[in-house]
């Protein structure tokens, strides 16, 4: 029920009553004036027509009927009856009724139409859209308020004028096209540029409809126009933005994928497709798992599922993908599941080719492994610590040497290390730190303590350095020098033993010391004896004094004997030991002992020992003594020789003695040589060619050799110099190894 219809009923009733009153009044008036039926009918007609302007059809129709009734009763003779005598009056009544009804109807219709059209116009005015109606000559027939607002022209200004008068410019091609389209199709939808009264240019969306009459001829055009300038601007901005993003998507050298929850590729950027050797079309619609290598597909699937399980959270992973041509590449992907504007869930993936980086990483790892292997297998112990001195790494040797596991060592603080593992005390530690501070390198000897508590000597070399990121590190290389220390110790002991024996058997020293010792009791004896002599000579016979003096003489004599006995015992102690000896070793030991001296005197010593020299039995120290004596003599003999020519050769070869195997060692020099007659005299005690010599060395040496069952002799070296040789019987043939002898 329309609004009009809703109000109809009370209105109808109202207009009926109004009409009724009006009619009654008019009837009374006409009656009084004595009008006849025809005149009254016309008056009634006027009233009805007037009423029809406000009333609706039904009440007026009713009034019309009442009017007819009234006419027939009051005005058509016979009066006061509904009978109509005159035939002309019937025509009048009939005509009145028809005219009233028809007129009423017509007026009603036209008022209604007018009202409707007013309503519509009001509605049209309400709408925000601009509505313009023009006829086929482009004359403006209707101009709503929206159009007034939009263009700035009021309806009064525009109605009846031509459309083009208000466009402020020539008709554009678009406008002409629009018109043509409208005529052709009866409707149009266009976006056109229009100009307002103020000269502002607007983009309007024009919807037009062609109104045709019954014959189909166009009669008017209804246009609805919308200002879409803003919308257009927004659309433009959006489009530009979209273009930008599209450019990013399309041309960025990064691979972008968009996946649906099932893992199907919804979209991929050209770069992404290209990197994998596909076109975009080939990838869209396929499962993304297809581009991963077989073994990584499960992982890829799992990662995508993780993304979907945690929407909005970005997750990363590294996997290998497969190109179309079968080659593989390592990628790092970051993905996030999200909801789009359409409320769909998608997974966005950014994918980066890291094959190069992976390769570099692999190489680095391989290189690091190589270095680690190197360090680990080094024979020295290796420690690395940070700037606070805490151990951060150790190699295998460090662990094995100390008896700890790597876990036990790594992480140990400096204080712990020093107190538990070394014998360095606080003083030393401070000194080390000071040295470290000044020079970055420190070398020191110390002792380390194993887990089982045993100590061993070490040489440590420490160095500090700074890494690229500015951190300070220290490395310590520690060498177990137990062997070296032992060798040094052995050497020292050998030297001491040799020195001792040298001292003892070189009678020079012995003589000097025991000569002094003997001197004391001898002097005392002399004094006492002289004293007695003097006293007796004076005739003094102080018996006690004399007795004391003589007693002293006796005791001093005993003291002297004791001294001599001691010396004899000392000499006896060096009775030859009997051990198996390799002369090669003896030679080596002597060379070690003489090394400093030969270097100082610029003497080159060469050895030439046969490989198959048999073992001899003897006293190592005594034989060293002999050889050392010969070597020193040889060096002395070459004192006058030019430094570059000083050469000494020690030869050893197999020899025979009385048909049994023996070894001969020859010491050859290129010194002043021997005279023939000297060759034998040399070995006599106290014979010496040296200004400060005792002349006992060779004598003793010869006696040592003889005690070993060998012999010692000298010869001239053809050319220059001399050769001193000694021979020793091989094991099993020496008098020394005939059963265990007495200890003395």
């Amino acid at each position: 029920m329309s609004v009009l219809q809703a109000r109809a009923l009370p209105r109808a009733i109202g207009s009926f009553w109004l009409g009724l009153c009006a009619l009654a009044l008019v009837t009374l008036l006409c009656f009084q004036l004595g009008f006849d039926a025809t005149a009254t009918a016309f008056v009634y007609l006027v009233v009805i027509v007037a009423l029809s302007l406000v009333g609706s059809f039904i009440p007026l129709a009713a009034l019309s009927v009442l009017g007819v009734a009234s006419l027939s009763y009051f005005f058509a003779p016979p009066r006061f009856s509904f009978m109509v005598g005159n035939r002309q009056d019937v025509v009048v009544l009939g005509a009145f009724l028809i005219a009233a009804l028809v007129t009423t109807r017509l007026v009603n219709r036209s008022t209604r139409a007018a009202r409707l059209s007013e309503e519509r116009a009001r509605l049209l005015d309400l709408t925000h859209d601009a509505v313009i109606i023009r006829d086929m000559q482009s004359r403006i027939v209707y101009w709503n308020r929206g159009a007034e607002r939009l263009y700035g022209w009021s309806a009064t200004e525009t109605l009846g004028r031509f459309m083009h008068e208000f466009r402020m410019g020539p008709e554009s091609a678009a406008d002409r096209e629009a018109k043509a389209q409208l005529l052709q199709t009866g409707s149009l939808q266009r976006e056109l540029w229009h100009t307002t009264r103020d000269g502002k240019r607007l983009m309007v969306e024009v919807s037009g409809a062609l109104e045709r009459d019954e014959s189909g001829r166009p009669v008017a055009v209804l246009l609805t126009l919308n200002d879409i300038t803003e919308r257009k601007r927004a659309e433009d901005a959006l489009r530009k933005s979209e273009e930008r993003w599209r450019a990013v998507f399309e041309h960025n050298p990064t691979m972008y994928f968009m996946l649906d929850p099932a893992g199907t590729v919804i979209s991929v950027n050209p770069f992404g497709a290209e990197q994998l050797g596909y076109t975009v079309e080939e990838l869209v619609g396929r499962s993304v798992l297809d581009v991963f290598i077989e073994s990584h597909r499960e992982a890829a699937r799992r990662h995508v599922a993780d993304c979907l399980a945690h929407p909005g959270q970005a997750l990363s992973w590294e996997l290998r993908k497969l190109r179309r041509d079968g080659t593989m590449l390592w990628v790092r992907e970051t993905a996030r599941a999200m909801r789009t504007a359409d409320d769909e869930v998608v997974v966005l993936v950014v994918c980066e080719d890291i094959t190069q980086r992976k390769r570099a990483e692999d190489e680095l790892r391989a290189s690091e492994t190589r270095f680690r292997t190197l360090v680990d297998h080094a024979s020295d112990a290796f420690f690395m610590h940070d700037e606070r001195g805490t151990l951060i790494d150790v190699n295998r040797q460090a662990c094995e040497g100390l008896g700890y596991t790597r876990d036990e060592l790594v992480g140990m603080s400096r204080a712990d290390f020093i107190s538990r593992l070394t014998t360095t005390d606080d003083e030393d530690a401070k000194g080390i730190r000071e040295r470290y501070a000044t020079s970055d390198i420190a070398t020191l000897e110390s002792r380390h303590r194993r887990k089982d508590g045993t100590l061993f000597p070490v040489e440590a070399r420490m160095r500090q350095f700074r890494s690229e990121d500015g951190h300070q590190f220290g490395i310590a290389l520690v060498r177990d020098i137990t062997d070296r220390k032992q060798a040094e110790q052995s050497l020292r002991e050998a030297q001491a033993a040799l020195a001792h024996v040298t001292r003892v058997t070189t009678l020079g020293e012995v003589t000097a010391s025991f000569a002094h010792e003997l001197n004391q009791p001898l002097a005392a004896i002399a004094n006492n004896a002289n004293a007695c002599h003097a006293l007796l000579a004076e005739g003094i016979w102080e018996a006690d004094e004399l007795r004391e003096a003589l007693a002293d003489i006796v005791s001093d004599a005993e003291r002297a004997s004791a001294i001599i006995e001691r010396v004899r015992a000392l000499a006896k102690r060096s009775a030859p030991e009997r051990t198996e000896l390799r002369l090669g070793e003896v030679v080596r030991d002597v060379l070690a002992l003489a090394a400093a001296e030969s270097a100082a005197r610029q003497v080159t010593i060469r050895t030439d020992l046969a490989a198959d020299l048999p073992v001899v039995m003897g006293d190592r120290v005594q034989l060293q003594q002999v050889l050392l004596n010969l070597v020193v003599n040889a060096m002395d003999a070459m004192a006058g020789v030019d430094e570059s020519e000083r050469r000494l050769e020690i030869r050893g070869q197999l020899d025979m003695q009385d048909g049994r195997p023996a070894v001969t060692i020859r010491v050859e020099d290129c010194g002043i040589g021997l005279k023939a007659e000297e060759a034998d005299r040399l070995f006599e005690p106290f014979y010496t060619t040296k200004p400060h010599g005792m002349g006992l060395g060779l004598a003793i040496s010869r006696s040592i050799l003889e005690a070993h069952g060998g012999r010692l002799w000298a010869e001239s070296n053809p050319g220059r110099g001399a050769v001193f040789s000694f021979l020793l019987p091989a094991r099993g043939r020496s008098p020394l190894d005939v059963g265990p002898g007495p200890d003395r």
Partner: protein, 147 residues
Amino acid sequence: MSQAGPKNEGREMAEPHGALVAVVDDDTSVRLSTCRLIRSFGHRCESFGSGEEFFASGFAEQIACLVLDVRMPDMDGLEVQRRLFERGARIPILFVTGRASEQEEARARAAGAAAFLRKPVSQVSLREALDHALSASGRVQGDRDGE
């Protein structure tokens, strides 16, 4: 100096009235026997085992002559000589030694040693050296020549 006179058999030794001589030597028998010998010359003699003992004894001012071993532990002969010199004592010193280097002899003599004798010392050398030293210092009581 001994009392001159004919040889008397069994006669007791005369009262020693000679100068006081000190003997310093770390070897006991040497020290004692030297002292005995010096006493047989007619002098008085005291012996000491070390330089410290000698200085501690207080005899240092009284002696007319010093017989001194060079090589001794702790304080050697040269040191004793130096100390005496520092104290202002101008006692003649006879060095007697079993072994000494030329340098030590040179130093001793440079420091004013009256004599430098090597063990074993003949009694003649000792007597002569003593006489010489004592006469030089003017502490001799009696005179041989004067007899």
